[in-house]
């Protein structure tokens, strides 16, 4: 893994706050040229440090609210390939949003999204549990999201400062 330059780290910080900032704004903020920023972003994309520019959606504000579950999965690792093969089997399902290998009481943490409770339940019973190396699953439905990806979902508090102050 190579050391990222200071410029790249700062670009990442600023894009993490708001991915829609264009290179000329970033250049002004950082006191460098647009070309330098564009080059840094291109390299970050090529090296897959920046993987995607995503939108964080507070789905509780939408009518078609989705159901999300976190599933603890215990697994028998495969000889030679450990957890890799089964992790791949699982993450290829489109319902699966994220897969983490965990330390502790279980092996994989799988985040699954569905249109409703039933859809998630049938994914677990029909797809996930029957996999040969899966020993057990424990499904936890998310009741409410307060914060995701570092972003607090509550409406931002208004600026309490006076309009003019010394």
């Amino acid at each position: 893994m190579k050391q990222l330059s200071e410029l790249k780290l700062k670009v990442l910080d600023l894009l993490k706050e708001d991915a829609r900032r264009d290179p000329s704004l970033l250049a002004t903020l950082l006191g460098v040229t647009s070309e330098e920023v564009t080059e840094a972003i291109n390299e970050l994309e090529e090296d897959r440090v920046i993987v995607k520019y995503a939108t964080v959606i507070n789905s509780s504000k939408l009518d078609d609210e989705k159901v999300t579950a976190l599933i603890e999965v215990q697994i028998t690792p495969e000889r030679g390939r450990g957890f890799e093969a089964i992790a791949e089997r699982i993450y290829l399902f489109p319902q699966v949003m994220s897969v983490y290998l965990m330390s502790g009481a279980y092996d994989l943490l799988v985040e699954v999204e569905g249109r409703n409770l039933k859809e998630v339940a049938s994914f677990v019973s029909d797809k996930l549990s029957p996999l040969e190396s899966v020993l057990s699953t424990k499904t936890h439905f998310i009741l409410k999201k307060y914060k995701q990806d570092g972003i607090i979902f509550e409406d931002p508090e208004e600026d309490r400062r006076l309009l003019i102050s010394p």
Partner: protein, 403 residues
């Protein structure tokens, strides 16, 4: 209010005026206050008018205060502040600005930097003393001097010199009555700073003319490029200087009102006497929070400074792009562009900008001589708000040019 009561309250006002001390009666309300009243009636305003961080005090600082309240820390502290806090302040000043103060008798914790300045002036001023104040500057110095019976003498600095104080400007204003020089660098409203080399001739004059310096260094953490040089750190200046600083700007703690003064034990002792007879001590919860800020808040402070620096570039560049000349502010969080090219006065420009473009900024003339023709734009606000404000200002100026 009924007509009758209004009338009687007016009568009262008229008759009570006679009781007021003339030096208080003659003080004008600050231009900022006047402009604030104007702005608060308007809606959908983007404000570049605030002189305080847009960050909230870091959570660990707030949490330390909450925890101390839970444990019942609610009593008076020693007049000068808790020994732990004074020690931490001493250590911080030594590490950051290379000035060494004895926490026992050279550091006084105050209710904001403002109280420290007031105490220093009250301890020093005799009626008729002349107090030298480089301007434009923070709005409170002249009125506090006047309340204390002193005579504020303004020294005008200018944009060509990046609003630095020049030795010849200072020398011009020194008379046998000169007693105190009030310094405010990094400067509110200009963003000007002073380097070591800039300070040396000033320090020489201070020594030659036997002046005492009150150095308000509240923005000391907010410099971009050059590290702040404390006036007290200059050769021979420590004993002549009352260093004033606080937590408001560096740690986003304006509402806590936590500040401090450092200086020669005899000066601090004099200030302590006034302090103990007026406020007793700074609030204990504020002192707990301030201690936590000094012990564990430096990393977050650095992050805030980096963020201000980014916005500084955005605002200065943006102002220049819309045709306003703007000297490079190297400290605090204000840009101070000239609006002279528009032909409007600071007041006219700021009022029309507020009414027509819904952007609030402070007219430069409220900060004293030399501020006329300028506008204070605080960049302690989010990048998106700043971008929108610059956008609106650009359209406003375009409209002005088209007449």
């Amino acid at each position: 209010m009924s007509e009758n009561t209004q009338q009687s309250s007016q009568e009262n006002n008229q008759s009570m005026t006679n009781y007021l001390a003339p030096r208080v009666r003659e003080i004008q309300p600050s231009g900022i206050r006047r402009f604030f009243d104007l702005a608060s009636g308007s809606k959908d305003i983007i404000t570049l008018g605030v002189g305080e961080p847009d960050f909230i005090t870091p959570w660990h600082v707030r949490e330390a205060c909450v925890y101390s309240l839970e444990r019942g820390y609610t009593s008076y502290t020693s007049n000068a502040g808790t020994p732990e806090l004074r020690e931490a302040i001493g250590e911080y000043l030594y590490n950051s600005f290379d000035v060494k103060y004895n926490p026992k008798d050279e550091i006084l914790v105050t209710v904001g930097g403002s109280e420290a300045i007031d105490l220093a002036l009250r301890a020093l001023i005799e009626p008729g003393d002349e107090i030298l104040i480089p301007v434009p500057c923070y709005i409170s110095y002249s009125p506090i001097v006047a309340i204390g019976g002193g005579v504020p003498i303004e020294i005008e600095t200018n944009a060509q010199d990046s609003f630095k104080l020049k030795a010849d400007q200072l020398l011009d204003k020194i008379t046998p009555k000169s007693k105190v020089l009030i310094l405010n660098y990094p400067n509110n409203p200009t963003g000007g700073i002073m380097t070591y080399e800039d300070w040396l001739p000033i320090a020489k004059l201070v020594e030659e003319n036997d002046l005492i310096v009150i150095s308000d260094e509240i923005y000391s953490e907010l410099t971009y490029g050059q590290k702040h040089v404390s006036f007290a750190s200059l050769p021979g200046m420590k004993d002549r200087t009352i260093l004033v600083n606080g937590f408001s700007k560096a740690f986003a703690m304006t509402g806590w009102r936590m500040g401090y003064a450092c200086g020669h034990p005899e000066l601090i002792y004099a200030m302590l006497k006034i302090h103990q007879y007026t406020v007793m001590c700074a609030p204990v919860m504020g002192q707990v929070a301030a201690l936590e800020a000094l012990k564990n808040g430096l990393e977050e402070k650095n992050h805030m400074v980096e963020s201000y620096n980014q916005r500084r570039r955005l605002v200065v560049q943006g102002l220049r792009d819309i045709g306003l000349s703007c000297h490079e502010p190297e400290g605090a969080f204000y840009a101070f562009p000239s609006i002279q090219s528009t032909g409007l006065t600071s007041d006219e420009f700021a009022q029309r900008l507020l009414m027509e473009a819904k952007v609030a900024a402070v007219p430069g003339n409220v900060f004293g001589a030399g501020g006329e023709g300028f506008l204070r734009c605080s960049y302690a606000t989010s990048v998106s708000q700043l971008s929108e404000a610059l956008n609106r200002m650009g359209q406003f100026i375009h409209k002005l040019k088209q007449g």
